[in-house]
């Protein structure tokens, strides 16, 4: 088996005295969609923040494509091909839609126009809104913009933090379909979700995170059938 694209080993991180991650180890192989499910405050976002370099881990290693990227500055990690769509979309409301997309291509030296065409092909709605301020878009459009913005860098690894949060069911289905499309075109995806049902449906493998530690892992279909997962995350009642 080839080396994983992303390997996290014994990662510990926190905010001040509060430990949010207590020794997490996981692997993401090239071409996979891996989902990380867990309840609010389990440490999912913290993990992504550490991978993106926004948070300096207290211990452990983050290895991307064979290179130790632990504690690298965010811009270097982005330039290596790891892009994150943060929770809450974080659109630059004061910039136009086009400018938002161009921000996504900030580290690129060439190929911006071609990347823009690809993103607009994926999200035709954004083409009609290019001149509008990012803040004027609807929630669903903003999520599309956030994903499109990250894709402008043509990342090898895309980190998605709660892309379905606050969206209507129809849009949620659409977003997950887009995740599948992005993955089919060769981008490895890490998907952090509270919507475990949808996430397990689209992912190849899954990890369950609880209060900063991994408790379960396996193929998504197996986890989706696991009674513990069904009880805790899929809203199934006890017999």
């Amino acid at each position: 088996m080839s080396a994983p694209l992303l390997a996290i080993e014994g990662l510990e991180a926190g905010y001040g005295a509060i430990a949010a991650l207590r020794g997490i180890s996981l692997e993401v192989r090239a071409g996979e969609i891996v989902t990380l499910i867990g309840s609010n405050g389990a440490g999912k976002s913290t993990l992504l923040r550490a991978v993106s370099g926004l948070l300096r881990p207290a211990a452990g290693r983050i290895v991307f494509d064979g290179e130790d990227v632990t504690a690298w500055p965010p811009e270097k990690i982005v330039a290596r091909g790891v892009c994150q769509v943060p929770e809450g979309r974080r659109i630059f409301s004061n910039l136009s839609v086009l400018e938002n997309l161009r921000m996504g291509a900030f580290t690129r030296r060439s190929g911006e126009a071609a990347a823009l065409e690809r993103v607009l092909g994926l999200f035709p709605r954004l083409r009609e809104r290019l001149g509008q301020a990012g803040g004027t878009l609807s929630g669903g459009e903003q999520q599309m913009l956030a994903i499109g913005r990250a894709l402008m860098a043509e990342p090898r690894l895309l980190l998605l933090d709660e892309p379905s949060l606050g969206l209507a069911p129809l849009l949620v289905a659409q977003i997950f379909e887009i995740v599948r499309t992005i993955n089919a075109s060769g981008t490895t995806v890490v998907l952090v979700e509270q919507n475990a049902q949808q996430a397990l449906r689209v992912a190849h493998r899954a990890y369950v995170i609880e209060t900063g530690s991994l408790t379960l892992e396996g193929p998504a279909s197996v986890l989706a059938a696991d009674p513990r997962v069904r009880r805790a995350y899929l809203g199934e009642e006890d017999e």
């Binding site: 993106s52 370099g53 926004l54 500055p73 965010p74 811009e75 982005v78 330039a79 892009c83 994150q84 943060p86 809450g88 974080r90 659109i91 630059f92 409301s93 004061n94 910039l95 400018e99 161009r102 921000m103 996504g104 900030f106 580290t107 913005r149 860098a153």
Partner: protein, 301 residues
């Protein structure tokens, strides 16, 4: 009477252009760091001082020329850019994750340090800026007159503000600056080197303040190491008037403050000239804290 009013307006606008240039530095730094850089007035002072020494060493004293003015501006801008970069790197960057009060107090400290360092290096006695342009009226109708110096001041200010607007709205750096000012973390996730953008913002503000320092030397040649204190504070008021963090706001705020000051000293009493800016500040904070162009930012919870 109308001519008189127009004359005051011309004088006020020329003076306001200088405030606008300084105010831009306050507002841009506030935009990216939410910091009021109280040392900015001292950067302007160093700009004037550098201009003075540069003009003399270029042999421009007694030999005014437009080319000489441009060279003086360039020298002053270069020195102030370096100074601002050092201030940011040494005084503010180490405090990036400290509570917001810490860099603010540091800014006041840097301001005092530069005032006193200025007296040590340049001497406390005032100096007289060599006239870089031969003053003459280029426009005269009845009692109304516009001098070439006024035109040069206003023209340079407008040119620099247009250049700034172009940088901010049309370049990659400007886009990054706007992104950082809206959400620095999201900008970092786009691969923006946030610290470098902040440094660049300080340098950009300092370049404008340097220009203001030289331009002020053309109209008010008496310069000294404490000259930055009052214009610095007033330019801060101008930035607040326009809406702190808002670039066009700082331009309009500066011009407006210049005009108001000139009117007050022309029609009321020149005693009130320096007070009016602070009356204005209190009024804005009471009635429209967001300034003319500012928008209310909703805090995320």
């Amino acid at each position: 009477m109308a001519e008189d009013l127009l004359q005051q307006l011309v004088n006020g606008v020329a003076w306001g252009g200088i405030y606008a240039l300084i105010a831009l530095g306050y507002t841009m730094v506030y935009g990216v760091l939410k910091l009021i850089n109280f040392a900015h007035g001292e950067v302007y002072m160093v700009g004037a001082m550098t201009g003075y020494y540069a003009a003399r060493s270029f042999g421009l004293a007694g030999a005014p020329s437009l080319l000489g003015l441009v060279a003086t501006l360039a020298a002053s801008m270069a020195v102030c850019a370096l100074l601002a970069a050092i201030i940011e790197r040494v005084a503010y960057r180490p405090l990036r994750s400290a509570p917001r009060l810490a860099p603010l107090i540091t800014a006041i400290g840097v301001s005092l340090l530069l005032q006193n360092l200025g007296q040590l290096v340049f001497g406390a006695d005032p100096k007289f800026f060599p006239p870089l342009l031969e003053s003459r009226n280029v426009f005269e109708v009845g009692k109304l007159s516009v001098s070439n110096v006024q035109l040069a001041v206003l023209g340079t200010a407008i040119l620099l503000m247009a250049a700034l607007q172009w940088i901010v709205m049309r370049t990659r750096f400007g886009r990054a600056m706007r992104a950082v000012s809206f959400d620095a973390q999201a900008a970092a996730l786009m691969g923006v080197p946030v610290d470098r953008v902040i440094l660049g913002t300080f340098v950009l503000g300092a370049v404008l303040a340097a220009a203001a320092g030289v331009l002020v030397g053309l109209t008010n040649p008496k310069i000294d190491p404490l000259m930055g204190v009052l214009p610095g504070l007033k330019a801060f008021v101008a930035a607040v008037l326009g809406g702190i963090g808002n670039i066009p706001g700082a331009m309009v705020g500066g011009l407006l403050l210049g005009v108001i000051e000139t009117f007050v000293s022309g029609y009321l009493s020149s005693t009130y000239r320096d007070a009016i800016a602070f009356v204005l500040l209190i009024a804005i904070l009471l009635y429209k804290p967001t300034g003319l162009f500012g928008t209310t930012q909703t805090e995320k919870v």
